[in-house]
Amino acid sequence: MDDDYFSLNAILADNHKLSCTFTLDVPGLGYLEGGTENDIHQHSKIEMPFWLAQTLSLNEFTTFPLPPPYSNRVKSALNASAQSVKLSNLVGGNGWWYRWGRRIADVLDDEPQQELLNMLLRAFTNRLPALQDLSAHHASADHTLPETSTSTGEVFRDGMEGDERELFAIGQDSGRKAKAWYDSSNGRKYVR
């Protein structure tokens, strides 16, 4: 998971909306709120993309509570069964739950930061075996058969977030390549 300047995924992950509270009056920026008022007042809540919220929060112009996708409710759901939590529902269909979480963690103080990162890491490691199973299974599966969407694998697949999707595609691809090699008849076709 790179924070490369040129990484499109990193840019997109920075675009998640974060709900912030202003700690001071800001004249002339009322349009951010979407209303007709000219100024932003102290204590007003505004949804901002993370890239903007980050800078404002680091300078203590705004504060924000931990957004709902990383709340305690989600945390206990992950503790109960990490594989059945639908991360894609939390951050939207094309969200990046891990990336965004890590970006938020960068802004937090030591203790909540540790807590958040631990939650992300634990969720990832607990979901990894299921992810690997699924990608290996899809690489070798017969796609001519109709797929049943009731199996646990398919449910898990619906709940994958951006990086997990990517990982799934990578695993599936290399699995398919390996299978193609095992199935190939190495040069038997040259026999005359």
Partner: protein, 203 residues
């Protein structure tokens, strides 16, 4: 990078097979010829019924033209692979030691020179079993202690071919784990040391 994404992760199975064909193997030629000088060395003389040692690609090429019989390597027989399979099943901790080009060599030999091997169909199914046992271990390994702490996956004795299948997935997964790792106190100490060094430098 100029390489297509599918090739950036390392060698493909086809490339590994190409490399495996540089290894030498014994053949019994069905023709007579004096020594021959190739780029990789001098081979021959070919004098049936005595055996000659040639690179695998040459052996396969001759075999396809029905000009030789390939002498299978000593590890490619039912007894030996059955023993390997048994060890693999009993040893739950790690992977069994295989010759480096085991999978590639056995596959091309089974494909091209099956009639020179003893019980090729049994061999085929044994090799498949062996592959499945090892893959199951990889799967278990992903749930192991080492991965849970985000530090390592035990892959000692996996052959390059098996790694090539696993590598792209693992590299990204490990990268993600590393970036999610909470920052420990050690990093901060290092930074402090750097600061002190900088200060000293200025003064």
């Amino acid at each position: 990078m100029a390489l297509p994404k599918s090739l950036q992760n390392g060698l493909t199975p086809d490339e590994l097979t190409f490399l495996a064909e540089e290894d030498t193997i014994d053949i019994v030629p069905l023709f007579s010829m004096t020594r021959i000088r190739l780029l990789s060395g001098i081979y021959g003389p070919f004098q049936p019924p005595s055996a000659a040692r040639v690179p695998l690609w040459l052996a396969l090429s001759l075999k396809r033209k029905r000009k030789c019989r390939i002498v299978p390597p000593e590890w490619l027989n039912v007894d030996h692979i059955q023993a390997l399979l048994k060890d693999e099943k009993e040893n739950l901790e790690g992977f069994g030691m295989l010759p480096r080009r085991f999978i590639e060599t056995s596959k091309v030999l089974l494909d091209v020179a099956a009639d020179d091997l003893i019980q090729p169909s049994t061999l085929r199914s044994l090799l498949k079993d062996l592959r499945e046992v090892r893959q199951a271990k990889v799967r278990l390994g992903l749930q192991s202690e080492g991965v849970m702490r985000g530090s390592y996956l035990q892959v000692t004795n996996l052959t390059p071919l098996e790694l090539s299948e696993l590598k792209p997935f693992l590299v990204k997964a490990m990268g993600m784990m590393q970036s999610l790792e909470p920052k420990t106190g050690e990093d901060e100490e290092e930074e402090e040391e750097d600061d002190r060094f900088d200060a000293g430098y200025e003064g």
